[in-house]
């Protein structure tokens, strides 16, 4: 069996069905473990007291938001280069989760900002670039929603993701540049005072949990997309009628 047999939607549909429970359960267990570390094992920060614990959600969400965008760009590029239908479906399945994590990162950032800086929103470089990333996600999802033709939508969305991916580092750099000019480097999320090893461990566990969650949700979504697009084929008809 070669790798490309998995690229056939029918094969992948069944494979994904088998994988989803594994990823979902792992994500759930890891989240519990991560939360246990964050709330019970990690020490109280002497500067920020208990409020800092939100970083166990904020940081993994921010990581995921950027990482998912890159993965989408990767699938889009593969799809454009090799004309593989499944790659486009993967890109589409990932986008809502990416947007969700971006939103979570912004929201938790605001919650964290209130006790830290005394304001719900500061134009910190990271929060600002996260906001622009959310705009990029919204743009891609809106473009998909506006194009009825599946093939055109796939390709157009991937092209937009690609030019966005080329642009993201430049945007990030420009926002940091802008931030240092206008505020000085005094306020920065990066300046966490010598993070304890257990805190890093908690964040990593939460990040892996988020990653498994993303895979599980993306697989569920990709299965739905496959069924929708293949509903005229024999195997999809069999599944659709079997459910009724």
């Amino acid at each position: 069996m070669k790798l490309y047999t998995f690229a056939s939607p029918a094969t992948f549909y069944h494979l994904a069905g088998k994988l989803i429970p594994w990823f979902a359960w792992s994500a759930g267990l890891l989240t519990l473990w991560g939360l246990y570390i964050s709330f019970f094992l990690a020490p109280t920060d002497f500067q920020q007291s208990e409020a800092y614990r939100i970083i166990f959600i904020h940081v993994p969400a921010a990581w995921m938001s950027m990482f998912i965008y890159l993965v989408m760009a990767f699938w889009g590029a593969i799809g454009l280069a090799f004309n593989t239908r499944l790659s486009f479906m993967m890109a589409r399945a990932l986008a809502p989760t990416g947007a969700m994590f971006t939103f979570v990162a912004l929201w938790t950032g605001a919650l964290w900002g209130k006790p830290m800086w005394g304001a719900w929103w500061v134009w910190d470089a990271r929060l600002t670039s996260e906001l622009i990333l959310l705009f990029l996600y919204v743009g891609i999802i809106a473009l998909w929603a506006a194009i009825d033709d599946v093939k055109r939508g796939d390709r157009a969305g991937s092209l937009l993701t690609l030019i966005g991916a080329i642009n993201v580092p430049i945007i990030y750099f420009s926002v940091i540049w802008w931030n240092t000019l206008h505020q000085g480097a005094s306020i920065s999320v990066t300046k966490a005072p010598s993070m304890a090893a257990i805190m890093l461990q908690g964040m990593l566990v939460m990040a892996v949990a988020a990653w498994f969650y993303t895979i599980a949700v993306a697989l569920v979504r990709v299965r739905r997309i496959i069924l929708e697009r293949e509903r005229h084929t024999e195997w999809a008809k069999a599944i659709l009628e079997g459910d009724q």
Partner: protein, 222 residues
């Protein structure tokens, strides 16, 4: 090859000359958006000078988006876009030609109007000079990246608004470096770094966006 590029440029410029109203709308929009800000924030000269560079840059960005939604739409409607794509020359060249034409029709007038608005915003002559330089380097970026958005949204319902949604985030670096350059000269930190970054971004856009726009155009025409 150059004959093709010249033909596209000449054609778009002729068409713009025949329909002056179309591109003048974008310029009036530019003037109006900029003029609304003093009404909103008050007429203190110092404050206007502080927000001036940013306001003018944001207004220029919005005005460019307003005109970009038509970049391919008219040609698509009367079928000439298909003829152009089916010409023996690569589509990249067509997109490049249309983007350059857009910059000539839209960017140059912005460059001419900006100093007048700069005076309204109480900018010093040095600041106005740097504003012009930054717009000279920055407005081509708007035309080039905007070409990608125009190609992606070709023929879609509500394409104009969608175009804005897709392309505005990509404009962020141009806005930051462009407005930052003027800010730099006003606060005495210098504008060279901003302008070189803006120039680098322009060169990068020039190298990448026509290819993506050409691919997007072919996808949209299918």
């Amino acid at each position: 090859m150059h004959r093709f590029l010249l033909a596209v440029l000449r054609r778009d410029l002729t068409l713009a000359a025949r329909r002056r109203g179309d591109w003048m709308i974008a310029q009036f929009f530019f003037v109006m958006v900029a003029s609304l800000f003093p009404l909103g924030v008050g007429p203190e000269p110092d404050m206007l000078a502080r927000i001036g560079p940013g306001v003018l840059w944001v207004a220029a960005t919005l005005a460019s988006l307003l005109s970009l939604s038509r970049l391919f739409a008219d040609d698509h409607q009367d079928g000439s876009l298909e003829h152009m794509v089916l010409s023996p020359e690569p589509t990249v060249l067509l997109v490049l030609g249309k983007s350059i034409a857009h910059w000539l029709i839209y960017g140059i007038p912005v460059l001419l109007i900006a100093p007048v608005l700069g005076i309204q915003f109480n900018l010093s002559w040095d600041a106005i000079l740097v504003l012009e330089l930054s717009l000279l380097l920055g407005t081509p970026i708007l035309s080039l990246l905007g070409g990608v958005g125009a190609a992606l949204t070709l023929g879609l319902r509500g394409g104009g608004v969608l175009l804005t949604l897709l392309i505005l985030p990509l404009y962020v670096p141009a806005l930051i470096f462009g407005a930052g350059a003027v800010d730099g000269v006003m606060t005495g930190t210098g504008a060279e770094a901003h302008l070189s970054l803006l120039g680098a971004f322009m060169v990068l856009s020039l190298m990448i966006s026509p290819w993506i726009a050409a691919a997007a155009l072919r996808v949209s025409l299918e």
